[in-house]
Amino acid sequence: MSVAATGHELAEPLRAAFGEAALSADDGAVYVAPGSIAEVCAYLRDDPALDFAMLNSLTAVDYVECFEVVYRLTSLRRNATCVVKTRVYGRDDPALPTVSGVWRGAVLQEREVYDLMGVRFEGHPDLRRILTWEGFEGHPLRRDYLEPPLPYTWPHGG
């Protein structure tokens, strides 16, 4: 059967390895400091007792006072999942380190978060807009995004 690791279970080894970086935990997830997210993820992947070899999904939620970036990890060998969250504050240029060096699968998902939420991933090899076009203004999935007034023209024609 599958195991969904609670935040508390995950917080113990993380506190032992990283000390203060593991901020808090609840039933669903463990919260870590944004600056150390890449190291924490590398640890979660490499530690044989955890072995989270696959990044299932990476997304962000706009809570207005902060952006919560949610990492959902899967261990195929142990058949387990866990959720790691981190909060970045500030709406002008929120940024945190990339995990694309840990899982290649993060490359496109981080680009999507950057495009739609405006959270920048430092060290990402190719951080460009992905679903909207180059020159698009704003980040549509933010809560305060306003659609540009009509009539709106596309960059090349009509």
């Binding site: 070899a53 997304t59 939620v61 959902r72 899982w103 290649r104 496109l108 190719d126």
Partner: protein, 377 residues
């Protein structure tokens, strides 16, 4: 299994690039509006940059302005060849958020329809993929068989696509009286049809030459890239959400998870072909076990779930589709995030294309079986 974490570079590896070749967005082999720019060194591909977003409709943003029940219509339009599988995963996420459970009969109905939808989706893949690599005939057979599933869906849900049939807590209405009879007949025909295609295509010499050893991705790379579904199982990793995290009634059904050996295009095809047989097996079992009873959980029609989060995932024909819902206590979701398997599988494209012949680019892209409605959302 160690994930290799070499940084993915957008630039070609050798530094010797004869030309850049643009493929798409209007190209028959991209099955939608997908564009990729290939860097070519002689006959070999040394780099690939996918460009997506041509079909972006902002489904996630739109969902924030619809009530929970209305969001299902948007999920129909994500992966438009396996609509019911998408509806199911949203319905399950919302059910988890609201603490509702669909009645047993509804779960069986949903399982049966999802498995038939999987066969229909795989048949579409087999036919069009054969077209991609130059076999004109199989598509005629697979579309004939797929039509049977579409007709059944029309009979049950009222629509051939965009069914809008699953609800949070069940299904829209009970199935017609002759449902069991018709499903049995469809399954019987489909099995013959799949076998026919199997004989026609699987070990065809030309087909083998085009797909065997082409677009290889190792198991470690596939895991690190986050591939799921047949693309991952083609590389020999037996990860299937239906087995790993059983939902609906899958824990009561007997089925195998076919896996490939080398992770090449043929293996990915073979896994899908075998899954057709497995799905038909599951459909028959579920039909035998299906009880009578309610098809909708009793409760209020307009749901206001409590504050909180829910995540549900399911095995879509393309892989592990997940829905992450955040509720702020109102009747509309605060955030809807779809984990689209096609989009995530695209990460593997660069590894598969590395060093491949230009002529194989179409075969490799086709073997990923992406649906652009889901990639771009």
């Amino acid at each position: 299994m160690e994930g290799t974490a070499a940084p993915m570079s957008a630039e070609p590896q050798t530094g010797v690039v004869d030309m850049m070749l643009n493929m798409g967005p209007q190209h028959p082999a991209t099955h939608g509006v997908f564009r990729m720019v290939l860097s070519i060194d002689g006959e070999r591909v040394v780099g690939v940059r996918p460009h997506i977003g041509y079909l972006h409709r902002g489904s996630e943003k739109l969902s924030e302005h619809e009530s929970y029940g209305q969001v299902i219509t948007l999920f129909d339009r994500l992966d438009y060849v396996s609509n019911l599988n998408n509806e199911l995963v949203f319905a399950r996420a919302a059910e988890e958020l609201m603490g509702v459970e669909a009645p047993e009969r509804a779960q069986y109905i949903r399982t049966i329809l999802c498995e038939l939808n999987r066969v229909a989706s795989h048949l579409l893949f087999i036919g069009t993929y054969a077209l991609d690599v130059g076999a004109m005939t199989p598509v005629m057979y697979t579309f004939r068989e797929r039509e049977r599933v579409q007709n059944l869906f029309e009979h049950v849900t009222g629509a051939r696509m965009m069914h809008n049939y699953f609800r949070i807590g069940g299904v829209k209405e009970d199935v017609p009286g002759d449902f069991a009879e018709r499903v049995r007949s469809v399954v019987r025909h489909l099995r013959e049809g799949v076998e026919e295609t199997d004989r026609l295509l699987t070990f065809n010499e030309v087909y083998l030459a085009r797909t065997r050893g082409v677009g290889v991705i190792s198991a470690a790379d596939a895991v690190s890239c986050g591939l799921t579904g047949p693309c991952l199982r083609g590389s020999g990793v037996a990860y299937d959400v239906r087995k790993a995290y059983p939902y609906e009634v899958y824990d009561r059904l007997e089925f195998d998870v076919p896996v490939g050996e080398f992770g090449d295009c043929w293996d990915r095809y073979w896994v899908r072909l075998q899954e057709c047989y497995e799905s038909l097996r599951m459909t028959e079992q579920a039909l035998e076990q299906m009880p009578d009873g309610l098809v909708m959980a009793p409760g209020r029609r307009i749901a206001r779930p409590p504050k909180g989060e829910a995540y549900a995932h399911a095995e879509n024909p393309r892989g592990d589709i997940g829905v992450f819902l955040v509720s702020d206590g109102t009747d509309k979701p605060y955030r809807v995030k779809v984990r689209p398997p096609s989009f995530c599988n695209l990460v593997g494209l660069e590894r598969m294309m590395d060093g491949a012949y230009v002529a194989d680019a179409v075969a490799i892209l086709g073997s990923l079986d992406i649906v652009l409605g889901e990639v771009d959302r």
